[in-house]
């Protein structure tokens, strides 16, 4: 029997898509510039069916790509032409919310926000909050080790997942992690989270829940210069304050957000900082005053304090909708996700502006200033033939972050998008060592191939040469 017939038999015809028109829905994720039509999409309804599908793939050597909501921004769910997509959208049960043990057990297709909604009656929530949290799924969050606006204080997906049931590349089902984080043996769960779907498929996740903070205070501080806003961030951190979030928007991003009627941002300010503190009321009140004082000292031109929860929601809606808002001022855009050490924010923003000028392309900046995670939005017009120039600039920006001692990606993942840039950040031995881990999980390389690691097919015959990391040149790190 052919593998496709076996899949139909294993899952039922109604759970398999082969019609080209319907397959088109799955040909890309949030990185829409890359598109590949898979040979088939399967829609399993249980972990057992996921495992059955993977076993068929393993027997026939068919590559498979797991997919949640398809909101990923690095092409991590980009299909393989001769392979299948395993959609986890039908595994969306919340199995258990356990307020006593402060955890929830959910299937991978449950959205990030629905976990917090289910926990809310107990005064609990799930901390990581990527901007797409209304639609993105916990399975995708596990694959990408998603962060969000609040990860400066609360960390990432990997800090909030206790256990996962996973289907391995040979179709066996196992459990990583356990009831307690104190477990003997290698931290396979930690290595699995953020592996971008290349080590297996998660079919159940146990997440930690936190008690909602008693107080939340949010402000928007305007600045006459981006550098002034950057200095304020440095000042806040130097004061020993760990805000729940520190977000920066530059003028172009603010203009995009302001094009929406409900915007609370000052349209003509050069930069705005959103600072949020949360925690016990007296601690928050004391530090909130201090943050305002630091902003003023660094030349803030206006400080708006959120009056109530609704006002705060408006501030966040503007911030979280910034990517979409950019669509109002540009027909197309690329989002980058590089990270620089916080102390180099002003420098990197200056260099991005200069590179943008050189390329004749506009770049808007919305980013997590507290942890140096940039989200430059490279604006271009497909119609005006700017695609290649914009893509080149986008890659240059990611690689600039590495040059400044940072990373290609803070939360969106490498995926298909930045795999060819990996040799800028890691040497051959580093990548080869990572591949040993991959081979332990997936010796035949069937699980989401073509992601994370550069291949000649993906990157041309000559993947970019390794260049010394600046920290190596400075003698801070060594490569032998």
């Amino acid at each position: 029997m052919s593998w496709s017939a076996e899949l139909v038999e294993a899952l039922g015809r109604e759970n398999v898509i082969t019609d080209p028109a319907r397959l088109r829905t799955y040909e890309c994720d949030g990185l829409t510039g890359y598109r590949v039509q898979p040979a088939m999409v399967v829609l399993p309804r249980s972990a057992g069916e996921v495992a059955a599908a993977v076993r068929v793939c393993a027997r026939h050597g068919v590559p498979f790509v797991a997919r949640g909501a398809g909101t990923g921004l690095s092409g991590g769910a980009l299909p393989v032409a001769d392979g299948i997509v395993i959609s986890l959208q039908r595994l969306r049960r919340i199995m258990e919310v356990d307020p006593v043990n402060l955890r929830a057990v959910v299937e991978p297709g449950v959205t990030n926000l629905d976990i917090s909604k289910a926990a809310a009656p107990y005064g609990l929530y799930y901390a990581p909050d990527p901007s797409s949290q209304q639609v993105c799924t916990i399975g995708g969050n596990v694959a990408e080790n998603s962060g969000g606006a609040h990860c400066l204080k609360y960390g990432f997906t990997v800090n909030h997942v206790l256990a996962a049931e996973v289907v391995l590349a040979d179709g066996t089902v196992t459990r990583l992690g356990g009831e307690s984080p104190q477990l003997p043996g290698y931290d396979l769960l930690g290595a699995f989270i953020g592996s971008e779907g290349t080590l297996g498929i998660v079919t159940q996740v146990t997440v930690r829940l936190l008690a909602k903070p008693a107080a939340i205070r949010t402000m928007v501080a305007d600045f006459a210069t981006v550098a002034g806003a950057g200095d304020a961030v440095t000042g806040i951190i130097a004061a020993g304050i760990v805000p729940a979030a520190v977000e920066m928007l530059d003028n172009l991003a603010i203009q995009a957000v302001a094009a929406s009627t409900e915007s609370v941002y000052t349209p003509d300010t050069a930069a705005a900082l959103v600072v949020e503190l949360d925690g016990p009321p007296d601690d928050v009140a004391e530090q909130f005053d201090e943050v305002q004082e630091i902003c003023r000292r660094n030349g803030s031109t206006k400080i708006m304090v959120a009056a109530d929860a609704e006002h705060r929601a408006l501030i966040w809606r503007g911030r979280k909708a910034a990517f979409a808002a950019v669509g109002r001022i540009s027909p197309n855009y690329f989002v980058q996700d590089g990270v620089v050490p916080r102390g180099r924010l002003a420098e990197v923003l200056g260099r991005i502006a200069a590179m943008a000028d050189d390329a004749g392309i506009r770049v808007a900046n919305v980013f997590h200033a507290g942890d140096g995670n940039l989200h430059p939005l490279v604006l271009y017009s497909e119609g005006e033939g700017q695609h290649d120039r914009a893509e080149h600039l986008s890659t240059q920006i990611a690689e600039l972050c590495v040059e400044l001692g940072g990373s290609l990606s803070g939360e969106h993942g490498i995926g298909a998008d930045k795999a060819c840039s990996m040799p800028r950040m890691f040497g051959q031995d580093d990548l080869a060592t990572m591949l040993r881990l991959r081979s332990a999980f997936d010796p035949d390389g069937l699980c989401n191939p073509g992601k994370v690691f550069p291949t000649p097919r993906l990157c041309g015959e000559r993947p970019g040469p390794y260049r010394p990391h600046p920290l190596e040149e400075a003698g801070v790190i060594e490569r032998l």
Partner: protein, 386 residues
């Protein structure tokens, strides 16, 4: 093993060379930092020891970025002293730090102390590593920024590896500010009451940074601003009721309570010390089991728990090796995720080094094969699992 070679490299290059030499000689190698966790799990068969304590330098420290890079042999205690000058710290307070445990050793043992309640274990503070594999390959993952998802995170893999995958050479850590005020709530109570009160402190959003139950006392530490800690103290005392004490940060009794936790975890010559992991709400039943088994086998048992992390340590004192073996066997039956960290003399002859293997043991084996195909590093550390 009377004639054991010792390698004591002081640089990454030395370490790589030592590894290459040892590989050529086909030696079985035991990796050691300060040696504070040398007894954990199985006793590795070895022809040579790789001692990392000469790799103890600070590589880079940037207070503005709140990150630090160190050679893996640096004692955590020394690092914390350096960071204190800038009112910063690595949010990690394992008991073995006071005995000189190294940063690399703490990662390799997946160790943590009471603040794991908020900050997790060393895995949650490590943002980059450089490792040297059994074949002398030098590999790096992560980096120097807090937020970074580029490539696989090898630091996680080495977390808990007990010297069986490679040698940690360099570690980059994220830092946290030291709080301006701290205080401890101490409430004498049994385990069930402690779990209940701890839950009310958490659900009441009082945000204790650590919750520990040790020596029949619930300890909850609160970090924050002076006013904030004071306010939470009032509310915590109201929840705790009679018998509760509020001990400001400089109170000697607070220090004594926390020292007792660390003391119990470290154990002493002749003790058996076991670490266990369970779901949080199993803390009271585990405490009852420990008391029952200790009484049945005539052993003196003490326990400390971070209940909401589900992390427990049991110390057995007095009695014979076979009495200890009976208690450990009962503990393993209740909580298979158990590590024996200290073995009373003779106990190793009575018990396998590990109990029931975890469900993903096949993956653990595959990872071990991929990183150390000749089983040169820490051979037998995870026996009988692999």
């Amino acid at each position: 093993m009377s004639t054991v070679t010792t390698y004591r490299p002081s640089t990454l290059a030395d370490l790589r060379d030592a590894m290459a030499e040892s590989a050529r000689a086909g030696e079985r190698l035991a990796v050691a930092g300060a040696g504070t966790a040398v007894e954990w799990g199985g006793a590795p068969e070895h022809d040579a020891v790789l001692d990392t304590t000469a790799m103890s330098g600070l590589i880079s420290y940037n207070p503005t970025d709140m990150t630090v890079a160190v050679q893996a042999g640096m004692p955590l205690r020394s690092l914390q002293e350096t960071l204190a000058g800038n009112a910063q710290w690595v949010a990690l307070d394992p008991a073995l730090a006071a005995a000189g445990a190294t940063v690399g050793g703490l990662v390799a043992t997946a160790d943590a102390g009471p603040v794991r309640h908020t900050f997790g274990a060393s895995r949650d503070s490590v943002i980059g590593v450089t490792v040297v594999l059994a074949d002398a390959t030098v590999a790096r993952s992560g980096g120097h920024v807090i937020k970074n998802v580029a490539g696989y995170d090898l630091a996680k893999l080495f977390h808990g590896s007990l010297g069986t995958l490679g040698v940690l050479a360099e570690v980059v850590l994220r830092l946290h500010p030291r709080p301006s005020a701290t205080a401890t709530l101490a409430v004498p109570c049994h385990a069930a009451a402690a779990f209940d009160l701890g839950g009310r402190l958490i659900h009441g959003s009082l945000e204790p940074v650590a919750v520990e139950w040790c020596g029949r006392v619930l300890l909850a530490r609160f970090d924050g601003t002076a006013g904030g800690v004071e306010d939470r103290g009032r509310r915590a005392m109201a929840l705790a009721g009679d018998g509760a004490e509020w001990l400001p940060g400089d109170d000697e009794r607070a220090a004594a309570h926390w020292a007792a936790v660390a003391d119990l975890v470290r154990g002493a010559e002749g003790d058996t010390v076991v670490r266990l992991g369970t779901a949080p709400d199993r803390t009271p039943s585990l405490a009852a089991l420990v008391a029952r088994e200790a009484a049945a086998h005539d052993v003196d048992a003490a326990m400390t728990s971070s209940p909401f992390a589900g992390a427990h340590t049991v110390r057995l004192r007095g009695g014979t090796a076979s009495q200890h073996a009976a208690v450990v066997t009962a503990l393993r039956a209740a909580a298979p995720a158990a590590t024996v960290c200290r073995w009373t003399p003779g106990l190793r002859d009575q018990l396998p080094a590990w109990g029931e293997p975890p469900p993903a043991v096949a993956v653990l084996r595959a990872v071990k094969r991929a990183f150390d195909p000749n089983d040169r590093l820490g051979k037998g550390r995870f026996a009988p699992w692999f």
